[in-house]
Symmetry: C2
């Protein structure tokens, strides 16, 4: 009963699409990585909106941890509203977009190129205006995405970024983990999170907690609950939540805690424990080997390399959001007043 | 009846504290600015948590627009959880904190210093561990802040950052506007936003819309509604909100739109108009000369220079949040389970 939507069928496509992408992008990734290496950038700047912004958060942690390069986020308004250029000589500029058609994103990429950055567009629709502005385009290869809620293009953008990082770091471990990724994503399709569905059927509010690499997945999950389930879900790092916002968590409040199998997981488990003491409905999502005894746990398979865990989480989460949307009497393919291509200026 | 709280009295102190700060920091600001200029940084990195993170968002737009330097945000977990160092040779690292005692913030500043950055701490408590890690300390001079919800330290941190920017750009216009700031802040104490109070008395959810420079103020306002009013308020840029999250805005939903008197104001007015069509309760906050005819408007005095408008907005907003908290039967000085000093690791 949950399988008739576009969101569902496109989520099921993810493992196969990622496998094709990794295979077909080999020479492109090598070429772009070689060019980046030759330029020896001291800064990476990302730009994206919506789900693509969450892929950009993923890139921030991934590249900072793997390459030690600082990663800044380019606010499109700097170019499109204020008409300002930044000093980006020698920087790597990564523009992420499904459609590649948002005027403000194109203005940002143009501004970065004029400022001396090497502009790489990660896009699903290669024949887009953003491509004409970029020095190089890496295709996401997710196929046509008809669901208004992005699923396969978001995980696909993340796997492109991971692929580029693996090539830049020449990490055999990362390359091996990427080859194994489609298989683990397929396993994630079997996750049963129906216990959380039952409780969140009537929720109007929720928090999604992550930290570090997991913050990208938490942010994307929160957006999906807003757009497909009309739940005001907000993502927070397990540390940032303590600086005030946790005041809203009371008995019966819904919390999903995405615990990654790296050093960040402990603080996510700790804040989940704190919210359980307040009698909130807390669901900790963890790899089976890291399951906490003390809370309602949702299982996810473990990625071969911790940096890939956010993609595994999202694979399972998208199915969950689709089901929750339907259980709430909504149609995830027809969110209130939203279009597929959002052109912001 | 709204004036017996610490939050209220500390909010009233802001104009005087800022005036003292500007006067007493003259030589310190000159010294730090001279050192920054001599180092010719090509990157600014900020770090802060909670309200200080919002001052850091303000710094991002301010320095990017005024100096053209890219501004990145340092995620404390990179240092404290993952133990990684970034390549920050020659960068300017701005650590913002009220207490200067969060272990993860101190770890971040230490990591930046080891990586070759020039570390400047903007703190209220000068005798803090963070100060010992920094090359230079610029005091916020807000006096002791006892209210759990930060008010004067946040606006104070923002005015320090503006002061530094004015000195770095040698802008007579910015210096003049800074001198006039306490007077405009004082005028903002007269703002009457009681109409919004009446409607939001029973709200559990809200959105605060800003864009560009105004996004910092929107983020800080959303945090204040969470911690003092137990309203799940989230901030969004007028552009980002279109990428899915606006699905949650229906009839009767509360929206505060912070329209700055610069190029970003138009998109904030436009999204407010869209939400009015959905019969949401929309309050547009604008300078009197920029008031929209079509929505319930809340007035704020206009800063001499548009970059200072977020501080004016917050001056008025803090009084509003204090009043709304009390009208909701809460005590803004005693938020649920929060302490004044939040030590995150």
């Amino acid at each position: 009963m949950y399988s008739h939507t576009l969101m569902h069928s496109e989520t099921l496509e993810i493992p196969q699409r990622v496998a094709e992408q990794v295979e077909l992008n080999v020479s492109k990734i090598k070429k772009v990585a070689a060019h980046i290496r030759s330029g020896a950038p001291n800064l990476i700047v990302t730009c994206g909106r919506g789900s693509s912004a969450h892929a950009a958060i993923y890139a921030k942690y991934l590249f900072e941890l793997s390459l030690g390069l600082p990663v800044a986020s380019f606010a499109p308004s700097i170019a499109s509203v204020y008409g300002a250029n930044l000093k980006l000589e020698g920087a790597l500029f990564l523009a992420v977009s499904q459609s590649g058609r948002s005027p403000d994103l194109i203005a940002a990429a143009e501004s970065a190129r004029v400022s001396g950055a090497y502009v790489v567009a990660v896009v699903n629709d290669e024949e887009c205006p953003l491509s004409t502005v970029a020095h190089e385009v890496i295709p996401i290869r997710a196929g046509v995405e008809n669901s208004v809620a992005a699923t396969k293009t978001c995980v696909g953008a993340m796997s492109v970024l991971y692929d580029l990082c693996a090539e830049l770091t020449r990490s055999q471990e990362k390359r091996g983990a990427l080859k194994a990724l489609p298989g683990t994503l397929k396993m994630a399709l079997q996750c049963d999170w129906s216990s959380a569905c039952a409780v969140m059927r009537t929720a109007d509010q929720a928090l999604i907690i992550g930290r570090g690499l997991g913050l990208s997945a938490a942010s994307e999950a929160a957006l999906k609950l807003k757009e497909t389930c009309e739940i005001q879900a907000e993502s927070y790092s397990a540390a940032e939540i303590k600086h005030g916002p946790m005041a809203i968590v009371r008995k019966g409040y819904s919390v999903i805690a995405a615990a990654m199998p790296d050093g960040s997981g402990a603080s996510v488990h700790a804040i989940a424990h704190e919210f359980l003491k307040r009698e909130a409905n807390v669901y900790v999502v963890a790899a089976r080997s890291k399951m906490s005894q003390e809370s309602s746990g949702l299982h996810m398979p473990e990625a071969e390399e911790p940096c890939l865990q956010p993609l595994i989480f999202l694979q399972a989460f998208y199915l969950f959001a689709n089901r929750l949307s339907i259980e709430r009497g909504l149609n995830p393919d027809r969110p209130l007043s939203l279009q597929k291509v959002t052109e912001t200026t």
